[in-house]
Amino acid sequence: MNRILVAIKRVVDYNVRVRVKPDGTGVVTDGVKMSINPFDEIALEEALRIKEKGQAQEVVVVTIGPADCQQQLRTALAMGADRALHVQTDAVIEPLTAARIFKSLIDREQPMLAILGKQAIDDDCNQTGQMLSALWGRPQATFASKVEIGDGVATVTREIDAGLETLEIDLPAVITTDLRLNEPRYVKLPDIMKAKKKPLDVLEPAALGVTPSEQLKAIRYEPPPQRSKGVMVKDAQELVAALRSKGLIQ
């Protein structure tokens, strides 16, 4: 069966203005809205579209984290994923650990494609997809803005610093999504009801043979240095004069 594995992460919602706790031990997450990482939503949307074109038969959504993550898995099922896997743990999961867990799930599920968001908007690491493809020994097409599935291959356009790069990769492979790949669909109420009946299996990292290790210890969190508010000028002339006086323009 042609299967697509989509990894999602529960993160502080895109619209929340994140604040550092006064004691510097982390950021405030109590009572804060949590959502599927936006890039992962794009990953899921792409998988669903590939399935809707008849190029895959099943979309499996996976996540790693505490029990609360099942809310995001249910949302993903409501979007259209066929079933969900929850690797439940309260441990700190670094990207390399996440990649090891996903690799073991790939060994079980044998997907033709694993699609991940290019980065999570909480830790902004941008690592897991690349690490997964290295462990899997398969191609990676990161920062995808266009994906076309062919016969045993995918043609992927990537947003890179120099412009748009197109790669051809053999399947199975890992793709990570950039913002402009697609616009994720909205979840409709009947789909939320239907999603409650879809299968959601819970596993433990140990059952997958992975022990979460904390190789990177967060010592301290701080708010970023603030830029101070400058001055308002009344017109273009005053602006040019100010920039000239600072030697910023001739």
């Binding site: 390399l96 690490m131 191609p139 967060a218």
Partner: protein, 314 residues
Amino acid sequence: MNKILIVAEHDGSRLNPAIAKCVRCARDIPDANVTVLVLAADPAAVAAEAATINGVDAVVTVANPANAQALAATLAPQVAAVASGYSHVFGPSTTFGKDLMPRIAALLGAPQLSDVMAVESATRFRRPIYAGNAIVTVEVAAGTQLVATVRVASFEAAARGNATAPITAASLDVVLPSHTRFVSLSAARSDRPDLQTANRVISGGRAFGSADNFKILDGLATKLGAAVGASRAAVDAGYAASDMQVGQTGKIIAPELYMAFGISGAIQHLTGIKDARTIVAVNKDAEAPIFEIADYGLVGDVFQIIPELERLIG
């Protein structure tokens, strides 16, 4: 001694300016010995350039026709083969480095720190998270090999000197995959300075309303010798190319002068520009958040003010 390997980004003939910034970051590590690794079809010119950067102790080259394109799947096993014996493996936090370094880290079984913005010791670094809304200090256990990408906007470029570091060629016995093939690169050819390294950058946002209107920035950019950037809203709307996007998921820049036209200043955009020396904001909306961080703010219509600035700067 801390042995640091920096993976060179280049276009086949020139070293990317981000690498001199990685060198500066690496030299912030105490007792550092810095090697630049050049993987290319023909590495000679790039290696010669890398060898003149102050603070580079050695350059290692790997020549292979397969390295003509910077494919992570091809480069990573070669870097991993060279990297044993190095305490730190660095790359720039450009799309090249973001794509490649985690693949190297996984092959080495090493943790990675992304977007290092400051070095506190050989094992302790600072990096931004949550789109720059928080800075975290991270410690890696002593003796753990560490892979990192360097947030290039946080470091000055190391200067070039007269001395030349020794260049040695490595020959590797690594099987390279054929499962990933380069097809094409479509780059908007521009004679403007590179967005990531330009001294001056002017950017446009949603206020422009169309791709044609966006072009009114061109005249001012030419007068200023500036690169042109865009907000995510402008790129999403199709007014500007994706490689012009500045912000959390686009380019992080640190020019001397940044001028934002018709950009409201979403936090995701601000995170890409807050290292700019001077920020100028022009926006119709006096309440736009961009004014909170701008050194100079001007409330007004971009379609009036841009031609005026062009004329005044003359």
